[in-house]
Structures are given as structure tokens and as C-alpha cells.
Symmetry: C2
Subunit: 346 residues, 2 copies
């Protein structure tokens, strides 16, 4: 029998549809690969991109030349543009504002062939430090309500350029998915003086069946009400609202957890398309008429990463209801992810 | 410059991304077609399906034999099962219930090769009458909070069987997408004593640039804050909360409007994958301890159909924010849809 499960963090029901393909092999298909003759993200082709806004270079090399390990550039085809003032107005019953924001690309390593799962923990730590640097910089811009960092891997997950990269989009309104999580956490904290995400983590740890990996610093688990098959959440055990404030040591541990999770996903589902999204507290600009940041507010949020393979399609039912249909029980997914042999390559 | 637009009905922002492919030809690609050797929905193969729960037959033929024009059968692989009592319980911070519901398939015509856009208005009217009959029947089941009728066309829109069919899923909780619309309408009505969907329709009619078709009974328009390219809404001019209560004449007019919209979509985008979803008032079971229906409540909802081609992918940004990125301005989409030549086949 199928089951409906309620996610108190996303405030939504999920349908676990038992009748659908659900073991890893049911999801493994030949996937279209993008082949690029001249990749603009490749080492030595820096002049093909927009001017870099950040890079990690250890050899004293100059911007927009070789010598980088991680490189951040404005997206050449930005969804939202950085120039201009916000212009907000009504349009009858609708509202409209111009598309002010930032859209950047984090090129994760110079080598076209190496995906994030192939990078060493040290190399992944550099990527995470680039995320931190960009978050801290863009937070100073009071036009932005949220800064989303995410990664698309594989064509079905929206990656049109195969060279491994993440993206950052700063938006002038708080996105619905973010405000739902924030309000869930705030309401919970106001009632209980505890963090919802801490409590969810503790419940998953006590239950145990969804835990994929626990190294004492970070827990990786498949949430009980996962909306997608093989969805994973990477959560720090230490309550912390702000990813940008992590120490070097915490970043190093996260890099290990992230690499391990990516390798497990790749191993179990044979390099599936996936997205990951960093959820961290937004900058707040609403107090005393000048920019304030979330770290001056009660610490009721808890940053985390959502890692979601793209295995199923959105159809009319999902569109019309907002439900997701997950064909794999999260506890089954966790078992496959836990037990996979990471020493076998394919 | 891109633009953000707020949809007061779905309570969400949409990003109109001007930098992306946006003319119809940018979306036209070769699509995978499903070829079936033995289609279970075909005329003469009635014994291959589950037992029909409804059919339109005019020749006195018996159930589960040939002679039908429209046929409704339980889905052989239901997402939710019809048998049993609801079992709802907490699971720590989560909630869980067993997957009680109904999942039916409406086979729209006997011929494997004819899609809904190929059917005559009379034939489409029969399909719509089947929707009405199933809604009225399943509403009597007090376990169901909502009954969604929708159609998937094309593999990318979730249709794994190409023989033209719609689906019905009855669910034991009110889906988020439905409750958002219901509450938007209720709040608006409480404040203004007017219907939000009537007022949105009037604004679109006054503006005019999004109107695709208006025959006096039904208006087809591309909503100002469309979240998908070439999204259309089919709205009755006469305020009515309940699709199931439409008269024969109203059904006939809707069949003409629906056929015309499907033909326009097919013509402009060369048979794109699409979904449509019927939004109508849910059964209400909460009063006086016995089933009551929405038509005993203030008429603050207004039924309509959403028709959405599946042209873009969900990637990390959409997943992490809940925003949709629409690469085509709705007013441009409306122009293409209005001006397309329906006499040309392809």
C-alpha cells in the first residue's frame, strides 16, 4: 500500500507510491551526454568568459589568466541582471518588478573531465570557500533578499555545459520554498525554544533507518518524507544558521561528507542527473532601516544541503496538486546508499 | 531586462527570463514517441483492462465489451488504493497516513491514433461528461478531500501510454496547490465580496494582450504571471464554482474552447508534450458531521482549466526557490497562439 507522509519542514505531503519502479536498477538508463567542442570553462580559455569576480589562485597569477583552482564568473546569459535600481509596482491585481539580481557560475576545477565527485576533499573545500566568499560579498547588496547556491549535474537536471560548475542566483524577493522553511523553523522555535531541523535530525538518528553516513560532524540521511527518490540531506550536527560563517575545519569536514555522498549517488544510480541546493539563512535588511544580517536574529534556522537526483518527471498530477510522488521508500534508498561499494568504478 | 511577476491566485513570484529561448521555434525539437504493440486502451481489447467503472455507450452494449465511446477504468497500477479505511497517525515530528484514494483512467476515444485535439467537439463533450460523472460519484466517498482530473500528453509530460486518455486521482488530503488557490479566493472574497478569478479574468479582458480566444462563454488567455511558457487558462465567463454542475450547453461550449486551445497549442509548438488540469471546488465533509459539498458554501471559487506545455526542465534553481522561470512573455505567447493558422496541418 502507498503511504502519504507530511514533511513539517517543507509543509507538504508526499506520496510514497509503492507500485512504481523503485530499486536503483529501475532508474538506470542510457542518458544523453553533452559534448562540447570548445568549453568556455576550461583552463586556458579564460578570455572566453566574462571577467571573473573571484578565484582561488596560489601561484600569484593575475585574474582572467590560467593559474586558478576555482573560478567565479558572472553568467554570460544571466536570468537576472546586476545593474540598476529595483522598480516595484502594481499591475492591477498582479505585482511586477524588474529583474534585478546576480547570476554567477562557480567553475569547480580546471579540468573538463573531472566532476565534483572526482575532486579531492581539499579541492571540494576550495569550491565551498568560493561559495562562502560570494555569499559574504553579495549579502552587502541590500537589493537582494536571498542568495541561492546550487548545482545542476547532467542534462536532465538542467546542466547544459558539462564542465563541472555550480551556480549562484541572488534574487530581490524571498523565494517561496525558502520562506516556507524559515517560517516552519521560526514557528517551531517560538513554541518550543528548539530548532526544528535539530529535532528532525535527532529523530532520524534515533530511528536510524534513513541514515546514510554519520561522521560525528555531518549526518547524511534520506528524509522520512522525501519527495524525490534517493533524496539526501546533509546536515551539520552543530546547530548553525549560517553556512558562510563555517570555520576552515568545518568546511574540510563538509567537503568529505559531500564527496562521499556524491560518490554514493553516482555508484548506486550510475551517474544520475542531480541537483543540490544549499539552504542557509538569508540576509535580513528589515531592522532599523539599515542592513542587518540573520546572525543578529534568533538562531532558529539551521543550514543544510539538499541533494536530489532527477529520476522522475513532473506530470499533470504533480502540477495540479503540488504533491510529489516518490517511488522509493527513503529507508530503502538509505540502505542502497549505505551498502554500495565505493571502491568499484564503472 | 527580465521581470518578476506576482500571481495572486497561486501566491508565487514568477521570473520572466528574457535571455532564454522564447519564440515557438526555439521549443520545437524531435521528440521520442512511444510505440506500443498491444495497447490495452484500444477498442476490442477491453478484457485487457480492469473492469470499467463508467462508459458512454449508445448501442446498448454491455460493460467491458466493444460499443463504447468513452470508457473509465481503474488504473491498473494505482498510485493510491481504493480499499480500506484511512489510518492517520503521527510519526514523531512527521505525520503519516496510508495511501487511500482512487486512481482512474478516462480513455477518451476508441481509436489509438486520435488525440484529443483530433476529436470533434461532440466527442470531447462526451469526455467532459465522463469527468462530471466520475466527480459526482466519487464525491460521495467521505474519505476523499479532493478529486483531481488531469491529462498528460507526450512522454515528457508523463504519458507512458500514447492512446489518448485523461486521469483522475482522488486524494485523502487537500493538496497544497489546491488549498493555496482556495485560500487566495476566500481571502479575496471576504475582503471584497468579489471573486478573485472573475476579477483576474476582467483584468485580462480589459488589457487584452493575453487573450487567445473569447467566444462569449469561455475565455482562453495566457495569464500575466504564467509560470510556464505558452501556459493557457480556460475560464468560464459565468461565475461557477463547480465543473460537475455544468449544463449540457455549457459542456458543449467548453468542448469547443478546449479543442480550439489544443489545436492552437499543437499548431504553434508542433505537438508539444502538455498537461492540463481541471481546478474545481473540492467536496467538503466538515459540516454537521455528514458529507456536505462545496455548493453549500459561499461561491468564492471559480472553476477553470490550466493547460501547460512541458517545454522546460526543473533544475536546482526552481527546486531550491519554488520560483519558475518562464522564457516567453505571456503576451508574446498569446500573440503566437492567436495568430497561428489552424487550417494548416503538419
Amino acid at each position: 500500500m502507498s503511504e502519504l507522509r507530511w514533511d513539517p519542514l517543507k509543509k507538504n505531503w508526499v506520496i510514497l507510491a509503492n507500485n512504481r519502479g523503485r530499486r536503483p536498477q529501475d532508474f538506470i538508463i542510457d542518458r544523453e551526454k553533452v559534448v562540447m567542442s570548445a568549453c568556455p570553462f576550461c583552463y586556458g580559455r579564460e578570455e572566453k568568459t566574462t571577467h571573473e569576480v573571484f578565484a582561488i589562485r596560489t601561484d600569484g597569477s593575475r585574474p582572467n589568466t590560467p593559474g586558478w583552482r576555482v573560478r567565479v564568473i558572472p553568467n554570460k546569459y544571466p536570468v537576472l541582471g546586476i545593474e540598476g535600481d529595483l522598480d516595484k509596482r502594481g499591475a492591477g491585481l498582479y505585482d511586477v518588478m524588474n529583474g534585478i539580481g546576480a547570476h554567477e557560475v562557480i567553475v569547480e576545477n580546471p579540468d573538463h573531465e573531472r566532476n565534483m565527485a572526482d575532486l579531492s576533499p581539499l579541492e571540494i573545500a576550495d569550491v565551498l570557500k568560493a561559495y562562502q566568499a560570494r555569499l559574504l560579498d553579495l549579502r552587502r547588496d541590500s537589493r537582494f533578499r536571498y542568495i541561492l547556491i546550487f548545482k545542476n549535474h547532467g542534462l536532465e537536471a538542467g546542466a547544459t555545459i558539462p564542465h563541472s560548475h555550480s551556480q549562484l542566483i541572488a534574487v530581490p524577493v524571498t523565494p517561496q520554498a525558502v520562506s516556507t522553511k524559515l517560517s516552519a523553523c521560526r514557528e517551531y522555535f517560538e513554541r518550543k525554544e528548539r530548532c526544528l531541523i535539530c529535532d528532525l535530525l535527532n529523530q532520524e538518528l534515533a530511528n536510524g533507518s534513513g541514515v546514510v553516513r554519520d561522521d560525528g560532524d555531518y549526518v547524511v540521511y534520506t528524509p522520512y518524507a522525501s519527495s524525490q527518490a534517493f533524496e539526501m540531506r546533509i546536515v551539520p550536527r552543530r546547530h548553525s544558521h549560517d553556512f558562510a560563517l563555517l570555520s576552515e575545519q568545518e568546511i574540510a569536514a563538509l567537503a568529505r561528507a559531500l564527496k562521499d555522498s556524491l560518490m554514493r549517488l553516482r555508484s548506486v544510480l550510475r551517474d544520475p542527473p542531480f541537483n543540490f541546493v544549499l539552504h542557509t539563512a538569508p540576509p535580513m535588511h528589515l531592522r532599523l532601516g539599515k542592513p542587518h544580517y540573520w546572525n543578529s536574529l534568533p538562531y532558529d534556522f539551521h543550514w543544510h544541503i539538499e541533494l536530489v537526483p532527477r529520476l522522475t518527471r513532473i506530470a499533470g498530477f504533480e502540477w495540479g496538486t503540488g504533491f510529489h510522488m516518490n517511488p522509493t521508500r527513503p529507508e530503502d534508498a538509505a540502505r542502497f546508499l549505505r551498502e554500495t561499494d565505493l571502491s568499484v568504478s564503472f
